[in-house]
Symmetry: C2
Subunit: 175 residues, 2 copies
């Protein structure tokens, strides 16, 4: 099982948090919510799903986790305004550990300047930003490029969850 | 007086719509709200300000207006997912008519691919996107580059409104 940092703040896309996190937990992985302020409760964009932030990104380290998951909505836009959050994502991508994201999540990787030469997908509104960052935008439900695994929108969630669980299981002994 | 298209949809930043539009009207300009669907009411992000969309961008033309104003918030992210809205912004910028924007408004110009070599400012979270689009990001309350006049956030509104009114008055006889 893996320890997964879920990077999230207000206005996240509810289903893009709830469904993968439930699947990760059901598969036996540990999920830790990482946000801008520890102890704070943040809310989803549409259904006002409540999420308690367990760790501030200002007070945690990439070494503490095996993987990173970034849900979409407008949460990534808010997180990328914080240089420490951007630095955390940058370190994670460069570490080679799995980085899973969906929808607007690539915005954080753009600010972290780690997309040059990578293949990725994301929400339709940010396609030009992804291309301008030097990445190849691929219009598929799941796009994996080494340690990056991304999807476009909530419609891709079933495929995203399956591919994420398979990636997280790599190198693990069957239990 | 000028006829100004205000491009807007749901989740706009309330003050970034209300205050400039009030100032434009007080100065005698005509304001027309242009969105994705004519007759629809859209709502602000924070204070739920109601705005009735007068014209769909699918059913109007740059020739009908003297200037374009794009409020911020998450409205530009939603608008840029529509190719017709992006094309409207592109034509406006290339027409040389005034294009006024604040906060996340540059996202529409990024999708319209009209920022190469331009000087502009915008909200802190999109700085890397602006740079990646080939523009020079300037961290000032108002940045004007020929027909483009942009500001960063609601704190810049007084300076933005003053500069916008001055720009809209250019070439007009005093009345």
């Amino acid at each position: 099982m893996k320890k997964i940092a879920v990077m999230i703040t207000d206005l996240f896309e509810d289903s893009e948090y709830r469904e993968p996190v439930q699947a990760f937990r059901d598969a036996g992985h540990q999920v830790v919510t990482v946000g801008l302020e520890g102890g704070k409760t943040v809310f989803g964009k549409t259904e006002k799903t409540r999420v308690k932030i367990e760790r501030s990104v200002h007070d945690t380290h990439v070494n503490d986790y095996d993987a990173l998951f970034i849900p979409g909505g407008y949460s990534p836009d808010k997180l990328r305004a914080d240089p420490v959050a951007v630095g955390f994502v940058r370190e994670f991508v460069l570490s080679g550990k799995p980085v899973l994201g969906i929808c607007h999540a690539p915005q954080l990787l753009i600010s972290a300047r780690v997309l040059e030469g990578r293949r990725i997908t994301g929400y339709v509104s940010i396609i030009q930003d992804i291309i301008n960052a030097g990445a190849e935008f691929v219009d598929q439900e799941v796009v994996r490029d080494n340690n990056l695994l991304f999807s476009r929108n909530p419609g891709d969630l079933p495929a995203f969850i399956n591919a994420s669980l398979a990636m997280l299981a790599e190198g693990q002994d069957p239990r």
